[in-house]
């Protein structure tokens, strides 16, 4: 696309500067081309290379009208309705321009942190109410305090960027679109807990994110943000990117640590907590990309500023990833508190197929399916838990009425069987039995339904980690909310 624009511009003898920025998160408009004009940045999308000549003909360099024109980008309702704190720069700046980063208030958080004592940083993060954005929702400040209070000759910051949940792309967007914010967040965490080394554990399926992160780290090192002296302070911190081999379970923190150590990625029993005995047995902060990338704005704008967003015990903003059968899929960062229905129907614009929504899975492959009857559920940690679900990494995947929920339940079990690390019995054998039991139900064996329920309760309480423990969520929610799909005898009779 950039090449097509460049070609066309030079053919027309026009002088254009092309900057490749990250995504704004409006995925139905990608590839999005923005032009800086007197009115502000004007959006055109989705642009194909073949559209480029007609864009030039329409005078798009001065904001001219075109069938792909959407007016000023910031005024597009999908963007206008958002509260972008973590993603403030994403899609706006050149990802690898530190100058851009500084211009859009980057490094302010780290500068503030360098001037504070570690205890003050921990307190500020605790007071902000930030909770782990990876899924568990554990208060980030409390985790940091545990690591800060531990006595050790070496501590580590590990960023969990092994984003494997279905329908999630927030981590990737930040790493590709605003890598410095993650580096800044990790450096702040390091100063807060006294760590000198950091690792970003990401997946091999993200080659662009890996390349951009590595370049950004090299730039940060050159510019004195990383290294012996972080921003000229007495704190040393350096980091590197490590790439996983593709196991979903390596997104589980203890499994991730094993993988990072070069071992097979199997889950460790807790205790000991990674905060006390983590990477190589040393106290380790393991935080999700989203948690770490939210820290700079907290340090810059203050704990209270961040805390004031959200509802109940869920403070701040959450980058919700709208995916699946939706008209307007993309990343929507907003304060906690919208309802699921608003997200799917108003913001997502309903299904792209035009058929009615049947089910929405929230929180990745281990998240529960919600029927439209539960669309008034408020998007926060507690409300979702109360409704028998979880928000996980805030991925929302929409299905229309053609989906077979029995097949989805089977898929959940099959996924668990494939991705199980094999350490604990309920997950290793239970998932295989689960697939077989769902198949029995599909053959019309109604006696297998209570067996599936019994298996789910064994897996839920008996498993070592969330993989086996949460697989019952999609299975049981499918069974509870869509019993008709499991009644194959009746179907056959009809």
């Amino acid at each position: 696309m950039a090449a097509a624009i460049e070609r066309e511009a030079s053919a027309r003898n026009l002088d254009v500067t092309i900057i490749r920025n990250g995504s704004r998160g409006m995925l139905w408009l990608e590839t999005l081309v923005e032009v800086r004009t007197d009115k502000g940045r004007v959006a055109y999308g989705p642009v194909k290379a073949s559209d480029v000549p007609s864009l030039f003909d329409a005078g798009f360099l001065t904001g001219g009208d075109h069938r792909l024109a959407h007016g000023v980008t910031a005024e597009i309702p999908f963007l206008k309705g958002q509260t972008r704190l973590t993603f403030a720069r994403c899609g706006v700046t050149d990802p690898l321009s530190l100058e851009d980063y500084r211009h859009y208030k980057g490094l302010k958080g780290l500068e503030a942190a360098v001037a504070m004592t570690p205890a003050e940083i921990v307190k500020q993060v605790t007071d902000s109410g930030l909770r782990g954005r990876g899924g568990a929702g554990f208060p980030t400040g409390i985790k940091w305090k545990t690591v800060a209070d531990a006595k050790a000759d070496q501590k580590y910051i590990v960023c969990n960027a092994d984003e494997g949940d279905s329908g999630t792309f927030a981590d990737r967007m930040i790493m590709e679109g605003d890598p410095f914010v993650l580096i800044e967040g990790m450096a702040i965490a390091a100063i807060a807990v006294g760590a000198t080394r950091g690792y970003i554990y990401t997946r091999s399926e993200y080659p662009h994110a890996i390349a951009i992160m590595q370049d950004a780290i090299a730039i940060a090192r050159r510019e004195g943000i990383l290294g012996e002296s972080v921003l000229g302070s007495s704190h040393a911190f350096d980091m590197e990117v490590r790439v996983g081999a593709g196991a979903y379970v390596c997104g589980e923190e203890t499994s991730l640590l094993n993988s990072l150590e070069g071992k097979r990625g199997i889950v460790r029993a807790k205790p000991p907590l990674p905060a006390l005995e983590g990477l190589f047995g040393k106290p380790t902060v393991v935080n999700n990309v989203m948690s770490l990338a939210s820290v700079p704005v907290i340090m810059d704008r203050g704990a209270q500023f961040y805390r004031d967003f959200g509802v109940g015990r869920s403070h701040g903003t959450i980058p919700i990833q709208l995916a699946g059968n939706l008209k307007h899929g993309g990343l929507y960062e907003t304060a906690f508190g919208l309802t699921l229905g608003e997200l799917v129907n108003d913001i997502g614009g309903g299904t792209i197929s035009g058929r009615p929504v049947k089910a929405v899975q929230v929180g990745g492959p281990l998240g529960a399916y919600f029927p439209p009857a539960l669309f008034d559920t408020i998007f926060d940690y507690e409300a979702f838990a109360a409704a028998g679900g979880l928000i996980g990494h805030a991925g929302v995947v929409v299905f229309d009425d053609t989906v077979d929920m029995l097949a989805q339940a089977r898929f959940a079990m099959e996924f668990c069987a494939i991705e199980s690390c094999g350490k604990c019995t309920p997950c290793r054998i239970g998932a295989v039995r689960g697939v077989e039991t769902v198949d029995r139900i599909a053959r019309g064996d109604a006696a297998a339904i209570p067996l599936l329920e019994s298996l789910c309760s064994t897996m839920k309480s008996g498993s070592l980690c969330a993989l086996g423990g949460f697989t019952p969520y999609p299975v049981m929610s499918a069974l509870t909310h869509f019993p008709a799909d499991f009644d194959r005898m009746k179907e056959a009779a009809e």
């Binding site: 029993a269 807790k270 205790p271 099959e414 069987a417 494939i418 199980s420 094999g422 350490k423 604990c424 019995t425 309920p426 290793r428 054998i429 239970g430 295989v432 039995r433 697939v435 077989e436 039991t437 029995r440 067996l451 019994s454 298996l455 309760s457 064994t458 309480s461 008996g462 498993s463 070592l464």
Partner: protein, 198 residues
Amino acid sequence: MKDSRLLDRDFGTPAARSEKMITLTVDGFEVSVPEGTSVMRAASEAGISVPKLCATDMLDAFGSCRLCLVEIEGRAGTPASCTTPVAPGMVVHTQTGKLKDLRKGVMELYISDHPLDCLTCAANGDCELQDMAGALGLRDVRYEAVDTHFRARNAAATSIRSGWPRTRATRISLMTRRNASSARAACAPARKSRAPSP
């Protein structure tokens, strides 16, 4: 404290070395053990045996078999007693209705993946798996197992997604642990050796 070297009894996890004693309650009995002791071993010291398959006092706890799950007042869920260290004032329940169902459910999964050849098996009558199935009251397996590790092995693993590579890996890890136990037992002549591993 009882000396495990003189008894043919497995306390589940190794003895802790700490001088500091921790007092807790297991099934209503008060017991004091060194700091760092597992809940499983504390129960064992009090004469209460918690069901187990993967734990032995000759090796560090691993936490994979999920039969030793217990309930601890004030804590969520059902932690494995082998990997959970004791804490002062802890109130542990090793026998509840919930745990009974849970353990039986896990045991049923184990047996669903087992050949059921007890009558012709050399380990018949001297088998931990058999003992545990009996102790947990497992009489029937409700699953219609299709994809088992032994069947897959015989069928030369036609499906790459069959249960067997994972199950085998775990069996090997368990066997390695057992072999390691026998090797250590052999190196310590004072220790009365246990039944040979299958």
